[in-house]
């Protein structure tokens, strides 16, 4: 097995596994940058996965080959609306944001499973007939080496994820909107004094995080899981949250972290084909992403500077 083959067998799955994490982590960056902690990413992903699968199953006959794309779009919208609950609690009702996020996680899973039982009469949905398939990108796949590594046998959603990350960076750092959003998370009183509507910005940010997590959840469901049950989304939301912090609350950093997690997760799956790795006991590869994250947090990046006003509700007129 040549080096290129190994590389190809690693890069493909790594990007494949990290795409849902990238989407969700970018959403997380928006929410946390505006000062709202979002532990509820997990639940928002569950909602996305649920809606994506149910929509796909229901509308397969009318929409045909467009079904998966429309499904993730609908999942994005529904999760954005679902996220409003988190926004209402943590912005308007001044709830503890971590607690509200935990409630979102419980609620999404409960609701998803309740409706699944209600509509399908069992604990999980059927398998979808029309998930996303891998494709070769026209022209680019022809490029020697690079084409083979990055543009053949890939999911288009993976490119969408990377595009979203770059767009997220542009919006947060190169537009007035992004500046306002960040200012609300750093010093809401100063932002308020400058005429920025703190509550509105935070609502928008939380809804963006809902939309992105919805995308992430539905993309995960339609590329990897292919149905919805209690074990469809197990911890991907928390991994994304870790990616947000690992990436120091920066969209591109979060993307890098998500890619790293995806890579680490893919190791345990592809190890059987890679010479050195196949002798390593499975358990070490399974825990590798988590151990590496802890090591990285402890050693490389140490103290991560979070947005200053994170986790605190803004109360007009208080100092």
């Amino acid at each position: 097995m040549g080096f290129l083959d190994i590389l190809q067998s690693i890069i493909g799955p790594a990007i494949f596994f990290s795409a849902p994490l990238i989407f969700t982590a970018i959403g997380g960056v928006f929410s946390e940058r505006s000062g709202v902690v979002n532990i509820g990413l997990e639940g928002l992903m569950v909602m996305g996965a649920f809606v994506g699968i149910v929509f796909n199953l229901t509308f397969i006959d009318t929409l045909g080959s467009w079904t998966p794309w429309v499904s993730i779009f609908v999942a994005m919208i529904v999760s954005a609306i679902f996220a409003i609950i988190h926004a209402v609690a943590s912005v308007t009702f001044r709830a503890d944001q971590v607690v509200s996020g935990v409630a979102i996680n419980f609620l999404a899973l409960g609701l998803g499973l309740f409706l699944t039982k209600q509509w399908y009469g069992k604990g999980q949905t059927d398998m979808v007939d029309r998930p996303f398939y891998t494709t070769d990108v026209p022209f680019l796949a022809e490029i020697p080496i690079i084409g083979e590594l990055f543009f053949s046998g890939m999911y288009l959603t993976s490119y969408l994820a990377i595009a979203v990350a770059i767009l997220g960076w542009y919006v947060l750092y190169k537009t007035p909107f992004g500046l306002r959003l960040r200012s609300v998370g750093e010093h809401p009183m100063a932002a308020d004094t400058n005429g920025i509507n703190v509550s509105k910005m935070r609502y928008i940010a939380v809804m963006v995080s809902g939309a992105m997590a919805g995308l992430g959840g539905s993309v995960f469901a339609l590329t990897i899981a292919l149905n919805f049950s209690h074990s469809t989304i197990v911890g991907q939301g928390f991994m994304s949250l870790a990616a947000v912090i690992f990436g120091k609350w920066h969209p591109l950093g979060a993307m890098g972290a998500a890619l790293f997690f995806g890579f680490a997760q893919s190791l345990s799956i592809i190890s059987s084909g890679v010479p050195l790795l196949q002798d390593v006991p499975q358990v070490f590869l399974l825990i590798a992403p988590y151990v590496l994250t802890i090591l990285a947090l402890a050693g490389v990046i140490g103290r991560a500077e979070s947005p200053k006003a994170i986790g605190t509700p803004y109360i007009k007129g208080s100092r």
Binding site: F93, A95, V102, L107, L113, F238, I294, L297
Partner: protein
């Protein structure tokens, strides 16, 4: 009319009521009779002594995992890693139960202690990293959950058993099962662990409220800078809090390991005891007695829910929605507080 203390007690009660109300509306919306639904839940939890025994059995680990979350909360730490600590505690108790041959008076305490130590060790690392390097405990504990899950699975499969999916059953000498409690409740799986859980709640109350160390722990939770200025060692208190929290969580694992099940199995996913512990701690206001009451409520809901599909045709997951709404209302207590204060003003 409403003192502050009364409001603090009223908020969880109002939240539970509102949560159940939302559940009732959902049942109505899907064409179920909410009265029949909740009646089925009630019968499923208290219908006869067997169900009541099962309810108390479920309450037992909830008390301990709730205490674990609450204890860390009081020091200003969010231990989301209770789940992982439960798993290692579970594993340790079963392992000691199987590996050692000793009379019960030594064996059983040893197994329980092993669970507490394993959980404590699992809590120590995040505490250490937080105290010394400022690494956010939420992220580290989330990661530790997965490490616990996969490591435990691997150990069960390759070390404790010979490639099987579960270990042997622990011998009588290391088991919390109680012939007496079981026969009282028509042979439910109720075990002596309940006493350990209640005792742990008393310890938490005593430790936090009656000792200087507990005062320090709470002070660090209120304000780290002020505590440091007052000469307290903030880092040491953070580590200690995580260790004690982990020990409670490990005990919760032992309740399942050598109490309810008697073995450890290869797990496809988390047990959710730790995550439910977050809900228990929140509803219980992070105090010992509150945790016990909240654990009782959630245990009731969870076990009662199992009877809802047969009793009223309602999917069990309805209860998860109710629990989510309860947490939600507790979190949004500002709204309830505001409402109660308004009632108070108009009452004058």
């Amino acid at each position: 009319m409403f003192s502050n203390r009364l409001v603090n007690i009223l908020i969880p009660i109002v939240s539970v009521f509102l949560g159940l109300l939302v559940g009732a509306f959902i049942m109505l919306g899907f064409g179920y009779n909410p009265f029949l639904g909740y009646l089925a839940l009630w019968n499923g939890a208290f219908g006869d002594s067997y169900f009541f025994g099962e309810t108390l059995r479920q309450v037992t680990p909830y008390i301990l995992s709730g205490l674990a979350v609450a204890f860390a909360f009081r020091t200003g730490l969010f231990n989301i890693g209770v789940e992982g600590q439960v798993i290692v505690g579970w594993l340790a108790s079963v392992w000691v139960g199987l590996a050692i041959d000793a009379p019960m008076i030594i064996h059983l305490p040893l197994a329980v202690l092993a669970a507490a130590l394993a959980g404590a060790a699992w809590g120590f690392l995040p505490g250490l990293l937080k105290a010394k390097l400022g690494v956010h405990e939420v992220i580290v504990t989330i990661m530790m959950n997965y490490i616990a899950l996969y490591t435990s699975n691997s150990l069960v499969r390759n070390v404790i058993s010979d490639g099987k999916d579960r270990t042997e059953r622990v011998p009588e000498t290391a088991s919390l099962t109680s012939e007496w409690l079981a026969s009282l409740t028509q042979y439910s799986r109720l075990h002596y662990g309940l006493l350990i859980a209640l005792f742990a709640a008393a310890i938490m109350w005593f430790l936090l409220n009656k000792t200087a160390r507990g005062y320090e722990l709470r002070a660090v939770g209120f304000n780290q800078d002020a505590s440091r200025y007052a000469g307290m060692n903030v880092g040491r208190n953070i580590i200690l809090s995580m260790v004690i929290s982990g020990a409670f969580a490990g005990l919760a694992g032992a309740m399942e390991g050598i109490g309810t099940f008697g073995y450890q199995s290869v797990k496809g996913g988390f047990t959710n005891i730790g995550f439910d512990g977050i809900a228990v701690a929140l509803l219980g206001g992070n105090v010992a007695i509150g945790v016990v009451l909240a654990a009782f409520l959630f245990g009731t809901l969870k076990i009662g829910a199992l009877n809802m599909p047969t009793g009223a045709g309602v999917p069990t997951e309805l209860v998860d929605i109710v629990i989510a709404m309860i947490i939600f209302f507790v979190a949004s207590s500002y709204m309830i507080r505001w409402f109660l204060l308004k009632v108070k003003k108009e009452g004058k």
